[in-house]
Amino acid sequence: MISKISFTKLIIKDIKRRGWLAALAAAGLFLLMPVYTMIHMDSVRAAFAYSPQDALESLYGRFPGLISGATASVLHIALFVLALTLAGTGFHYIHSREKLDFYHSFPIKREQWFCTVYVSGLIIFAVPYAICSALVIAAGYANGIADPALTWKCITAFGIGLLSFLLIYHTGIFAMLLTGTTVTGLIAALILSVYCSVALNMITSLKGVFFEAYYPIAPSLFEKAAVYLSPAALFSHLADTVSGYPRLSLVFAALLFSAVFLAAAFLLYKAYPSEAAGNPLSFPRLAPVLKILISVPASLSLGIFINNYIGASGTKWIIVMGMIMCILICCVIELVYRLDLAQIFRSWKSSLLSVAGVAVILCIFQFDLFGYDTWLPKKDALETIGLKPFSFDSYFQYPFPYGDSYELNTTVPVPEDCRDMAYGLAHSGISGSGDLGAREDGSGKMYTVFYYELSNGCKTSRAYSVDTSRTAALLSQALDDEEYRRNLFPVFHLDRSAIRSLYLYDIYGLPETLSLSPDQVNRLLDAYEQDVLAADAGTLRYGTPLGELSVELLDNYSETEISSGAAAIESVGQSLANLSGFYIYETYTNTLSCLEEYGYTLQKEIDPEEVSSISLYLSADSIRKGELPDYLPALPSVTELPADEFTPVLITDKQDIRALLGNITYGCPGILDERNEKNEYVEIEFRTGYGFNTYYLE
């Protein structure tokens, strides 16, 4: 029997056999970790030269990511490549009959061979990785960045990096054992890494393309699962958290995947048929099954991709391209299996099944066989119903980070007494769905997202074109409810402690910083809240604002990019975000008097003398007609119209400016986007510079 000492000897010999890779891994990790860390620290210091404290904070936040790869993308890629390379070089011998005979003729059990190669690969990576991680931490201490808390985070980041490596390493080993050649092994590793993500995201993509009512306001189950069910997605998301503490669910999923792939690889190794060496697959009976499993989602995904790439409208080309891609992919798979172009149609039955599978899926979506577009929950199964007309996106700005839950946070359930009305509106939308362009052509329809929360806890959404007047009536009734207003208006979601500055805009659109104490800010916002609660629906729909407030507040979610020298760095942590659209109407007396009290008065008219030019953007309709709209005053200086609606007419003539100023109004869309019916607007350049406002024409 082989003793334990022999096992150690075997591991050492295997590491020696792959000495070139051990050297490459050590050198690469050294360059990408301690050396890169030193360069990076210098770059950040240079980028934040004006504020060393900010540099320190930025580095502190990013430091664990320099070990896990979260803030060092090259290291992150290197971990992936190293894991696959180690799996490939470790187990590629099973793809050669000579090598397999050589190894398996020795008096060593297969499980011991597996463990030997597995452990040696792990050592080749883990030892230099651990040493380089320690050097990174040491560099942090030497530069006054690291402390015991950060060290602990770095150790956690080391664990995450190791787990990320293991995830791909095990996937690679499993792929090598599923196949009989190194090329197919690598292809299998890549397919295994992304398969579930591609397949699940494909379903989401198909829904988006085929279903008119599809409008996700939160990640679907498929999208959520896609993160957890493929090694590449897990690998990517594990490192996403720069703090060094990733989501535990991701860690568990990664651990589970690693364990499952390792166990599967171990069992496969024991059963690995020696005759598989040199064949594309180690278990040829799986070939048709794998072909179908690969070709169906791949062809559908490619069909959607090509459709988007060529900018085709409708679903016709997805169907055509999906079928063509399926045939092509089946041929490519057969080519990989057989390496003989003459035999690509050999297994035609499985190819036919693949094409049939694609056809069935496309039929389901094309003819909406499960009634996705026409689905409406039963009234008694509804817990809440919310709606969000498309216009809300241009009227409101919320202090929520854009991301998975943004839509969910900004879709507010209607009060209970409006539920029937909302339900009826949704019902009316089902028959009208498919008429999505209606919201733009002034036909009295409005694209509106409905959000349903069912009594069983499920949440889902649909989007329809619904009657604008019915939506307005529903909104008017809902706005009577104070809680609804509080949920709907962004001012009630502000974290006042995060506010760093307040700006005031009037008709000029030039920001004026409000120099207020925290108490004054609170009083102003209290007054604004009172006014919002008291505002009538008509004002919110059609009212012309006198101005607006804008808030600058700390944003814990945003990421900015700073470039300094050779190093491009993503600065993550706290940065400042601007929220505008806190409109002040004439009826907002509390706000206006508060501003008055603080010494800020809103200008209601623009002095023509202060205007140097006006850019007039005409609608496509006016340009087609080749004349200025009737409602505008005569503008003698305008002799020629632009070629398209994106090029403005520049007016510098004093008389024309004066005339045009009489026709402009504050550029606020109104809560249902009903104010700018003419689709024409102007921008004004003042002698002091451009204002931030756009203006509608009356």
Partner: protein, 300 residues
């Protein structure tokens, strides 16, 4: 003793071994002969515990070989295309074999490489095909296992080296419990070398026999008997495997001892009679024809 019991093995629907049963006795040189594709390598790989039979079992002293390190430590398998690590020299290969075979004799290996004039520091990948086979053989011999399975290892060796290896095998067999099993498609190569032979054809083993026993039990008789009646009487008395007539000259392949056959021929009052030994090749042609196989095509 290696026992092959009812071994079946198929690759992609092709049956490489078809219910093979045989016994390889210890202390003898066993030759496994057969045409290309007869299943020699498959059989040796199963005997060496590399391949798992689809059916049946390989036993060494009653113990199964597959996934049994204790048994496999008594067997060294030398592939028809030897593998050496990338950039490894003979010394590195020696060290690797020494790590996996507890009985590996480094001194023996070093002395053999000197005798065979193999540069121990030269990369094995730069060796010629014959030198690689020599190195493989030396590693196998120095492993000091009871069984050495050589898969076409002698093909590609020059006559001098082949003779030297035969002497080495003989010396090792004198020294210790050593049983080489040699597969080849070249019958002449094994003729003066093997004690026992097994013939494989299309995945089946036709027979395994002691070579001397085969040779003593079969002979070739050439004679001219003028009396037709006596000639017919002789033909009835002899167990003839094959008969060829060229004019009045009869050439008979006869089962039986040489002396007895000659005595019977002389009793028929021939003009000329002599008994000749058969080459291994002729024996197998005769035997396989008797067994119903027309193997002339693949033997030549």
């Amino acid at each position: 003793m290696i026992e092959l019991k009812e071994l079946d093995k198929s690759f992609h629907g092709i049956r490489a071994s078809d219910r093979i049963s045989a016994v390889i006795q210890d202390g003898m040189i066993f030759g496994l002969i057969g045409a290309n594709g007869a299943g020699k390598s498959t059989l040796l790989r199963m005997a060496g515990g590399i391949l798992k039979p689809d059916h049946g079992v390989v036993l060494v002293d009653g113990e199964p070989v597959f996934e049994n390190p204790a048994v496999k430590s008594q067997i060294c398998f030398l592939s028809d295309s030897p593998y050496f690590f990338q950039n490894a020299d003979a010394v590195q290969m020696r060290d690797y074999y020494a790590a996996v075979y507890p009985s590996f004799d480094r001194e023996l290996f070093d002395s053999l490489t000197r005798k065979f004039n193999l540069d121990p520091k030269r990369r094995a990948s730069t060796f010629s095909k014959g030198m690689k086979k020599q190195l493989s053989l030396l590693l196998g011999i120095a492993s000091c296992t009871r069984y050495l399975l050589c898969d076409e290892t002698f093909d590609g060796l020059d006559p001098v080296v082949r003779q030297a290896v035969k002497s080495l095998f003989a010396a090792e067999m004198m020294k210790r419990d050593f049983t080489p099993v040699i597969s080849s498609h070249n019958l002449r190569e094994l003729e003066d070398f093997c004690d026992n032979v097994g013939l494989l054809y299309n995945g089946r083993i036709l027979f395994t026999k002691d070579l001397d026993q085969i040779k003593s039990g079969i002979c070739k008789l050439q004679c001219v008997i003028p009396d037709i009646r006596r000639e017919q009487q002789l033909l009835k008395e002899l167990k003839i495997l094959k008969l060829e007539r060229s004019g009045s000259l009869l050439t008979l392949t006869v089962r039986g001892g040489r002396e007895d056959t000659l005595k019977r021929a002389e009793s028929a009052d021939p003009l000329f009679a002599e008994v000749l030994p058969l080459t291994l090749e002729e024996i197998f042609i005769s035997e396989t024809e008797v067994a119903g196989y027309d193997i002339k095509d693949f033997l030549y």
